[in-house]
């Protein structure tokens, strides 16, 4: 990944923070605690790559994906999209940029309005941005997109309830591609589907990426899916990014103990990747009052006194490999 420096940066995050207020029980609602869904995340996504994001449920992947495209207002830090600082940009100024950033959702049922036809769903963004007027040209364009996404012409006037989960996911993909975006967040885009359908949709996403010059942020809790599609992978734990690196490198030689534990839990037929499954002790700690020092220390087999007290810095351990761990040299011997 030495060529990274010359490639265009589509998204750059600098110390991004997103806190949610904890719902208070009182009527007036005092200044309560906050859920630290994202707490200081920094990385870049380069043009044309698929950036995989993994981590346990609740670690803040969805929040990160939504904050990047400003469906949520960030609490702190900075988001640069295609050179524009969109951190505090008003909705009105964001509107023209919205065609460049899109999202594909997990739930093939909740993500399509049951009261609209497939044609209306796909055409909505085009009409909102006045890229087309209602009429045969719009329909032509919609049919074209549908065709690319593996949907037949006759489906255009049908309603979502008439489709299977995989087809619905194709409709959601067609909707986000209609605006001809640069950057697409795929939030667990295949997690709700059968395994056989999963690979179809993954292949579709791969093909579209090449045809349309897309950049993906591919979010999933399923490491095998992420590895299959990603160029680089970021691993999140409790609102922070703990490791980032090229997909192959990270997979073969995890630097963070958490990454190693996650990988050991992936069922594999790969004979070379021998080794026991590493079982993490304890539960995921609260993200309202996260542990001191390294957030992972409560569950880490390598934890020492230092981990309890000092927050590990985010450093480039090897070229293109970032990690936040005091003892990453020892990860190899772990397990």
């Amino acid at each position: 990944m030495a060529s990274n420096t010359e490639r265009n940066v589509v998204v750059e995050l600098r110390d991004l923070k997103k806190y949610f207020p904890v719902k208070s029980q009182t009527l007036i609602g005092g200044m309560g605690d906050t859920v630290k869904a994202n707490d200081g995340v920094s990385f870049k996504i380069y043009e044309g790559e698929t950036f995989g994001l993994v981590g346990e449920s609740g670690c803040g992947k969805t929040t990160l994906g939504r904050t990047i495209i400003r469906l949520e207002k960030p609490t702190g830090g900075q988001i640069l999209f295609d050179g524009h600082d969109i951190t505090r940009m008003s909705n009105r100024n964001l509107r023209p940029l919205r065609t460049d950033m899109q999202i594909i959702f997990q739930d093939p049922y909740g993500s399509l309005d049951p009261k609209q036809t497939v044609g209306q769903i796909i055409g909505e963004g085009l009409l909102a941005h006045k890229m087309f007027k209602k009429g045969p040209e719009l329909e032509e364009y919609i049919l074209d997109i549908m065709d690319k996404c593996g949907l037949d012409d006759y489906m255009i006037h049908r309603y979502p309830h008439q489709f299977s989960g995989g087809q619905r996911q194709r409709i959601g993909i067609a909707r986000s591609l209609a605006l001809d975006p640069k950057f697409v967040v795929c939030d667990e885009a295949v997690s709700a589907l059968d395994v056989s359908i999963q690979s179809q949709i993954l292949n579709l996403l791969k093909r579209l990426k090449d045809e349309e010059n897309l950049t993906y942020l591919f979010i999933s809790h399923d490491l095998s899916v992420v590895k299959h599609i990603s160029d680089r992978i970021g691993v999140m734990y409790l609102g922070e990014m703990v490791e980032l690196g090229g997909a192959e490198a990270l997979y073969n030689d995890p630097l963070h103990p958490y990454t190693k534990a996650l990988l050991s839990a992936v069922p594999t037929t790969d004979v070379q990747r021998k080794g026991e499954k590493i079982i993490l002790k304890g539960d995921i700690p609260s993200n309202v009052h996260p542990p001191s020092g390294c957030r992972f220390h409560t569950r880490c087999p390598l934890a020492t006194e230092k981990c309890r007290q000092e927050v590990p810095i985010w450093e480039e351990a090897k070229p293109g490999r970032f990690v936040a761990c005091h003892h990453y040299e020892q990860t190899k011997e772990m397990g």
């Binding site: 495209i69 309005d113 049951p114 036809t117 309603y159 309830h161 008439q162 299977s164």
Partner: protein
Amino acid sequence: MADKKNRKEQHYVAEDQIEDLQGKELSAEEQRRLDEAREKELERLEREDVVISPARMVWNNFKARKITMIGAGMFLFIILFSLLLPVFLPEIETDMANRRVGPSLFFWREGHYLFGTDNHGRDVFLRVADGGFVSLYVGAVATFISVIIGTIIGSVSGYFHGIIDNILQRFTEIVRAFPFLPLVITLSAAIGADLDEDERIFLIMVILGVIGWTGLARLLRGQILSLREQEFILAARAMGVKNFQIIAKHIIPNVISLIIVSATLQFAANILVESGLSFLGFGVQEPGNSWGLLLRQGTRDSSVIQNQPWLWFFPGLFILATVLSINFIGDGLRDAVDPRNVRR
């Protein structure tokens, strides 16, 4: 050609199987059969290129239930009876020669009346038809008022949650807790005497409307709160669709059925309350006319109750039939729009 016919039959088999199996506790074998039948149905829809809109689906669900269709039929009859019939019938006149005549099936003959006459010799049939108009009218206008208020307050509360929501909710609770019956009775006693008949009816409609919206507001608020978190709303926001467009294109179409159902049930409730008030003497009064008032006049004292039962029986029957039929329709609608009852 034969092939086509064969397919048609196949699909009916599949549809029947789905109906037989739906909603029951199923064994693994039956579950498999149900899945298979569903799959066949989907395939058929594919082949025949059938487009089923959500509205069409609701209608299919609605007419599938007998009791709902009976309700709809009854209600249609009552509408014709009370709204249309009075236009063609003669004026109601007092006729001292024909007082307190019992009901008769030979109503076309001189001196015979289908529903009998009251103690001024007025034809009860005509009075029930005419009174029905007032009862339905008052109920409908009151419902209209409360639907408007409830929709506005519920939607605003749900869509712009936070402080606005908090204030509106407290306000809703206050209105809910308001002792409404004593208020109407006091108002009616205090200013009722100074009002003419139209003003009284107007007052009743407004009061019924102004207190009746809280249920709908709460229902809508909850629905919209969960709707706005739905991913299709997020998708629209991600595409840069404006707030106003999101409300018009996504929120309203998804709650309109809820509003209609709620309005139907509210309508029935309003007819009952109006009848109750008039029955107690705090609603419509002479020279006005409504089912509640007729009921009041038919139960003036025990001798009237015993000797002229037709005076209370017919208005009572019509109140009962109206409220029942509207409730049947409302329940049927509620089931029909419930996404869990998908009948393709």
